[in-house]
Amino acid sequence: MTQFAFEIDQVSKTYPFFALKDVSLRLECGQILGFIGPNGAGKSTTIRILMGLLHSESGNVRVLGLPMPQQQVAIKQQVGFVSSDMQLYQQETVEWHMNWIAHVYPQWDAAYANELLKRFNLHQPQRIRDLSQGERMKVLHLLVLARRPRLLVLDEPTAGLDPVARHEVLAEVTAMMQDEERAVLFSSHYTQDVEQISDQIVFIDRGRIVASQDRESYLESWRRIVLDTPLGYVPPALRALVAVQQTVHSAVLTVNAFDENLLSLLTHGGATVRRVETMTLEEIFVSSVMANRNGGQP
């Protein structure tokens, strides 16, 4: 059995106003990879290269042990892809799509499909054009989940979904992981969802991978430190210092490589530590991107 669900190795793609440069990421089977980044960072481009919809200019891609795009037919038999810009056939029904997909994929599980219909509150005779955006996303999920793919690639899967539907999708995705042979790439702006279900976090900004770590150590390495500072306090120039907000008597420092020694370095100038706070993935995300834009450390 292959160890990696996919391996993207030093992949590049150039466009007039944007370039993906030396992007590498890989996902072990049995894990969920949370792929985050601001709009236009290159998430969708990377995902399309992964799915063989785009050919990269350099590097190589292997999915489920097979080379992409050369073996894309065999690969796509085992991979499910849901993207928020995917559309189905407006004039056809949910049932038509289900039957069509069941025809194409022998591993279609009809019982599970019916169960998902109920859970997602969908009805077979409904026509796609009569569905809301959220309901259309649910149909896309159903069509992909019911054939039990080994790799699930989700590009903004919960966009437009109400909280119940989001909860259902996350429940199905995490339920998948009971099987160690399966894996999920989850790309989303809903950082809360990413934080909750991801085993690995990969952060992309302006076409480059900015961070790639397991979720626990990634979150552990970021802190917001509130200091009481004496007049004229200047925070030391540390690589781990991402952002500083200062008033006359206090400072809030954001660091991305936290350990206890750091605290003593920061208090060197007579400052005292008032509070050390952990950060949510959203806060880390915003901090990172803003720092990157201001020319600082990401």
């Binding site: 969920i32 909860h167 996350l170 995490t174 909750q196 279900i197 085993d199 979720r215 008032r274 509070r275």
Partner: protein, 130 residues
């Protein structure tokens, strides 16, 4: 066996800590008596809708604390020597300490000041002992 635990989104503590607390709670109230096998990491992760790595971390820390025991090839079990009340007391203590820290921070005490107060309180109660 009901595997589902609950992650509170309003709780700012790391998820693995919440999971550890809930596992200990289950043990404390008797859902999972000492020596019983608890659901696998993957089963718990799926039922709670969280990442596997979070549950793994919780299990690792609980093993280190002596609350859980993993037997190679057999599964993970509640440790025989886990004292029910012991676990609950720890929970209560944690709750008290959490409240004290929150109150102190609200008042504007720095971490150094809080530590000083803490030491003073420990000293005081030690002196009270007969």
């Amino acid at each position: 066996m009901n595997s589902e635990l609950h992650i509170s989104q309003a709780d700012r503590r790391p998820m693995y800590l919440q999971i550890m607390e809930q596992i200990k709670h289950r043990i404390a109230v008797g859902d999972w008596p000492p020596g019983t096998e608890i659901p696998s990491i993957r089963a718990l992760a799926a039922a709670t809708h969280v990442s596997v790595i979070t549950v793994k971390r919780a299990f690792t820390d609980l093993e280190r604390e002596g609350v859980l025991v993993t037997r190679q090839g057999k599964g993970t079990f509640v440790a025989e020597q886990v004292n029910l009340t012991h676990a609950r007391h720890h929970e209560e203590l944690q709750g008290h300490m959490q409240a004290a820290v929150s109150a102190a921070l609200q008042m504007g005490l720095s971490e150094a000041e809080l530590e000083a107060r803490w030491r003073a309180t420990v000293e005081k109660s030690r002196r009270k002992e007969p």
